[in-house]
C-alpha cells in the first residue's frame, strides 16, 4: 500500500511518463488525467493517442492499458474493432476512396481497381516504399459530387480512373 502510494508520487513528480522520454506520452497522460483515468474513456484516449502518434503501436496500447487499469486484451480488442484505429504506420501520402452507395452507383469500383493495380496493393495497405496508403471509406458525405476521393486531406469529386491516377502519379510503384 505504502509502496504503491510512493510510486504514485514518483510518477507524478518525475518527468517522463514513459521510459523512452518521448514527450508525447506525457501529453497522452494529461489527456487521460482529464478523463480521471476512467476506463470508459478508453476510446477518447485512443483517439488522442492516434492523433499524437499516427497509429497505435503495441507498446502504446500497453501504456494506455496500464494507466486506465485495463487488461491489455481489452485495449487491443477495442483497437481492432474500430476501423478508424490503425495498428500500422501510414504512408507518406494517403488516398481515401469512397465506396459508399452513391459513389458505387457512379463507378467507384473502377477507381479502386485502377489504383490497386498501379499501386500493387489492396485497399487498407501501404506501398512497400511507404509512399502511398490506400484506404476506403463508406461515404464521405460528398455524395453530391460522387465518385469522391480524398487525396492528402483534400476532397475531390467527379473522378474518373484516369484523373485519379494522374493525381497519384509518382507515388505508384507500377504507374
Amino acid at each position: 500500500m505504502a509502496e504503491a502510494a510512493k510510486t504514485e508520487v514518483i510518477k507524478k513528480k518525475a518527468g517522463p511518463a514513459h521510459p523512452s522520454g518521448d514527450k508525447r506520452f506525457k501529453l497522452l497522460e494529461v489527456t487521460m488525467k482529464r478523463h480521471q483515468f476512467r476506463s470508459d474513456a478508453l476510446i477518447e484516449v485512443m483517439h488522442a493517442a492516434q492523433e499524437l502518434f499516427g497509429f497505435l503501436e503495441v507498446d502504446l496500447m500497453f501504456f494506455i492499458a496500464r494507466y486506465l487499469k485495463l487488461p491489455p486484451s481489452r485495449v487491443f480488442g477495442v483497437a481492432t474493432f474500430y476501423n478508424l484505429f490503425s495498428l500500422r504506420p501510414k504512408g507518406e501520402h494517403t488516398c481515401v476512396l469512397c465506396t459508399g452507395t452513391a459513389c458505387y452507383v457512379k463507378g467507384a469500383d473502377a477507381l479502386l481497381d485502377a489504383v490497386e493495380k498501379l499501386a500493387g496493393i489492396k485497399a487498407g495497405e501501404t506501398t512497400e516504399d511507404g509512399k502511398l496508403s490506400l484506404v476506403t471509406a463508406r461515404c464521405l458525405g460528398a455524395c453530391g459530387i460522387a465518385p469522391a476521393v480524398v487525396v492528402d486531406g483534400t476532397v475531390k469529386g467527379l473522378e474518373t480512373p484516369d484523373s485519379l491516377v494522374q493525381q497519384l502519379k509518382g507515388w505508384l510503384p507500377n504507374g
Binding site: 476506463s39 470508459d40 474513456a41 478508453l42 476510446i43 477518447e44 485512443m46 483517439h47 481489452r74 480488442g77 477495442v78 474493432f81 474500430y82 476501423n83 478508424l84 484505429f85 465506396t99 459508399g100 452507395t101 452513391a102 459513389c103 458505387y104 452507383v105 457512379k106 471509406a137 463508406r138 461515404c139 464521405l140 458525405g141 460528398a142 455524395c143 453530391g144 459530387i145 460522387a146 469522391a148 483534400t154 476532397v155 475531390k156 469529386g157
Partner: protein, 551 residues
C-alpha cells in the same frame, strides 16, 4: 439568461442586420469545393468596395443543391449563384450595385426548391452555425424557455405524443411513447443520447443538420432532458464528420456560456449538460445497444433487447436514444404546437422527412418533403429525373432497405408503404439507379457492406453474410445452378430470423427486394442443367464458393 433577455438578444441581432445579405454555403459538400476561399474573398470584396455597413457576408449551412456547389445566395434579391470560385467574388459584389456578375445562376424558384417544405431544415442555409445569436434571432431556444416556464414535464411528453412524431433513425418508433417509457422509470440518473452515427453509406442528412443548425439539436435534447428527467446527454457522432464535431463543440460552449445549457438553465432549477462522443468507424454502432457500449469505451457489440435502453441503458440507468432529426423536430413542435405538426404528412406518418437524393439523378442534394409525398414526385419533379437513361429503381433505407422499381414510384413515402414493399424508410438515403445498374451487383454491394460491418458476435450474421455474398458472386459469374438460387433464398430467411441485432436481421433485405422485383436478372444468369449426360452433382463446395448448407 431568461426569456426576456432571449427575446432582446434576438431583436438586437435582427436589427443589426444590413439590408443586403450574401450567404455562402460552408457545409461539407461545398467546403470540399473550396467555399471557404469563396467566403473569404466575398468578405474582402465587400470591404474593398466599402460596403460593410450595407452588406453582410455570412457563412451558412447547406443550401441543398450540393451538385452545383459552391453555392452563394444574395438576399433580398434571391439570386443564387452556382459553382462559384474565389475569382467570382468581386463580380458578385459588383453586381449588387447593378449589372450582372457573369456567374452561373440557378433559379431559387425552380421545382427543386419550390416543391420542398422546411421544418427540420427551416434554418438550414439561413443561420450561421457557429454563432448562437444567429440561431436565437431565428426564435432559437424559445421552445426550451417555453417548456421550462410554462409546461410540466408530462405536458411536454403529451405534446410530442399528440404531434405523432416518429423516430427518424429508421424504425419509426413513436417518439412520445419512448419518452414516456424513460420518464416512467424512477432512477437516480437518466441519460439522453443523440444518435449521430449516420451509418448508411450514401446519406448525409444528419451531418447536414449538425453542420448547418447544431443548436436546434442541442435545444431538442435539452427539452427531452426536461421531459424525461435527465440532466446529462451525449451526442455520439461519427468520427468521419470532423466539421459537425467542431460545430457541435462550439455550439455547446456558447450555449453553456449563455446559460442555455449547463446548470440552472434559463435561471430555473433545471440542469442539463451535453458531451460529445466520437465514433471510430463502425456501422453497427448506430444500433442503440452497440452505441451505448461504445460510449462506455467498449467494443461496439449489440446486446439482445429487452431490456430496452429506456429501462437499462448507459451504466445501467434509463436512457433515451433518439436520432438527430428526431431531436431537431422537437423545438418546432413545442413552439408551434402539436396540431401544426400533425397537420403535415399522412395519417400514420406525420411531419416531414429529409432525404439525401443521390445517384443517377440530375439534382443531387438535400430534399425535405412532407411524409406521404410520392417517390416519383421526389425523383422526377424535384430531382429532375435521370440525366441520361431511364430510372430503373430507387433504393431507400441503405443496407437495411430495398430497391423500389420504376413502376412503383407512385408509392407514397411513409413508414408503412415502404415496409410493404420490402424496403424501409431508413434514415433518409435515396439513391436513384438507371438501366446501367445491375441489380444483382447492387444486392452484392450491400451484402458486402454488411459482411464487412458485422460485429461478429452472432453466427447467423457473421457467417451468413459471407455465404450470401459468395452465392451472389457465384450468380454474377454465371456459375450458379438453380439450387443455388433456392439456397440463397433459404439462407436469407435464416439470417433474417436468427440474427441478434438489426444489422443481421435486415441484411438480407436488399437481396430479397431485388429478388422480388428484378428476379429475371438472377434467373437469366443461372446455368441450365446439363441434359443427356449424367447429371453432375452439385459441385463440392470449394473454399471459394464456401457454400454451406444449413438445412
Amino acid at each position: 439568461m431568461d426569456r426576456h433577455e432571449l427575446h432582446e438578444l434576438g431583436d438586437k441581432e435582427r436589427r443589426s442586420r444590413p439590408r443586403l445579405r450574401i450567404r455562402c454555403c460552408t457545409a461539407a459538400g461545398c467546403l470540399s469545393a473550396n467555399s471557404q476561399a469563396v467566403l473569404d474573398k466575398l468578405k474582402h470584396a465587400v470591404a474593398a468596395q466599402g460596403l460593410e455597413d450595407e452588406v453582410e457576408v455570412c457563412g451558412v449551412g447547406c443550401l441543398r443543391l450540393c451538385c452545383e456547389g459552391p453555392l452563394v445566395q444574395v438576399d433580398p434579391q434571391e439570386v443564387l449563384y452556382q459553382k462559384v470560385s474565389p475569382e467570382h467574388a468581386t463580380p458578385i459584389v459588383g453586381a449588387l450595385l447593378g449589372g450582372s456578375a457573369g456567374v452561373t445562376q440557378g433559379d431559387p424558384k425552380s421545382p427543386f426548391f419550390a416543391l420542398q417544405s422546411s421544418v427540420v431544415l427551416d434554418n438550414c442555409g439561413f443561420v450561421e452555425p457557429e454563432r448562437i445569436e444567429s440561431y436565437i434571432a431565428a426564435d432559437g431556444y424559445q421552445a426550451l424557455a417555453h417548456a421550462l416556464h410554462e409546461m410540466e414535464p408530462g405536458e411536454v411528453i403529451d405534446e410530442i405524443t399528440r404531434s405523432g412524431l416518429r423516430g427518424r433513425g429508421g424504425a419509426g418508433y413513436p417518439t412520445g411513447v419512448k419518452w414516456s417509457m424513460v420518464a416512467k422509470h424512477a432512477a437516480a440518473r437518466k441519460y439522453i443520447v443523440c444518435n449521430a452515427d449516420e451509418g448508411d453509406p450514401g446519406a448525409f442528412m444528419n451531418r447536414s443538420v449538425l453542420e448547418s443548425d447544431p443548436h436546434k439539436v442541442l435545444e431538442g435534447m435539452a427539452i427531452a432532458g426536461y421531459a424525461v428527467g435527465a440532466s446529462h446527454g451525449y451526442i455520439y457522432v461519427r468520427g468521419e464528420y470532423p466539421l459537425a464535431i467542431e460545430r457541435l463543440k462550439i455550439g455547446i460552449k456558447q450555449a453553456n456560456k449563455m446559460g442555455l445549457l449547463g446548470s440552472r438553465i434559463c435561471s430555473l432549477p433545471f440542469d442539463f449538460t451535453i458531451d460529445i462522443r466520437i465514433g471510430a468507424g463502425a456501422f453497427v454502432c448506430g444500433e442503440e445497444t452497440a452505441l451505448m457500449a461504445s460510449i462506455m469505451g467498449e467494443r461496439g457489440t449489440p446486446k439482445p433487447r429487452p431490456p430496452f435502453p429506456a429501462e437499462t441503458g448507459l451504466w445501467g440507468y434509463p436512457t433515451l436514444v433518439n436520432n438527430v432529426e428526431t431531436f431537431a423536430n422537437v423545438p418546432g413542435i413545442i413552439r408551434r404546437g402539436a396540431a401544426w405538426f400533425a397537420g403535415i404528412g399522412t395519417e400514420k406518418s406525420k411531419g416531414t422527412k429529409v432525404f439525401c437524393l443521390t445517384g443517377k439523378v440530375k439534382n443531387t442534394g438535400l430534399v425535405e418533403v412532407p411524409l406521404g409525398t410520392s417517390l416519383r414526385h421526389i425523383v422526377e419533379d424535384i430531382g429532375g429525373g435521370c440525366p441520361d437513361g431511364k430510372v430503373k429503381a430507387v433504393q431507400t433505407g441503405g443496407p437495411s432497405g430495398g430497391c423500389i422499381p420504376e413502376d412503383l414510384l407512385d408509392t407514397p413515402v411513409d413508414y408503412e408503404s415502404l415496409t410493404a414493399l420490402g424496403s424501409i424508410m431508413g434514415s433518409g438515403g435515396m439513391i436513384v439507379m438507371d438501366d446501367k445498374n445491375d441489380m444483382v451487383d447492387v444486392a452484392r454491394f450491400f451484402m458486402n457492406f454488411c459482411m464487412d460491418e458485422s460485429c461478429g458476435k452472432c453466427i447467423p450474421c457473421r457467417a451468413g453474410t459471407v455465404q450470401l455474398s459468395r452465392l451472389l458472386t457465384k450468380i454474377i459469374d454465371g456459375r450458379a445452378l438453380n439450387e443455388d438460387l433456392k439456397r440463397l433464398e433459404a439462407l436469407c430467411g435464416m439470417v433474417k430470423e436468427t440474427s441478434l441485432c438489426g444489422l443481421g436481421q435486415t441484411a438480407p433485405n436488399p437481396v430479397l427486394s431485388t429478388l422480388r422485383f428484378f428476379r429475371h436478372e438472377y434467373v437469366s444468369r443461372i446455368k441450365p442443367p446439363t441434359n443427356g449426360r449424367p447429371k453432375p452433382k452439385v459441385p463440392a463446395a470449394s473454399a471459394d464458393d464456401g457454400v454451406y448448407t444449413p438445412f
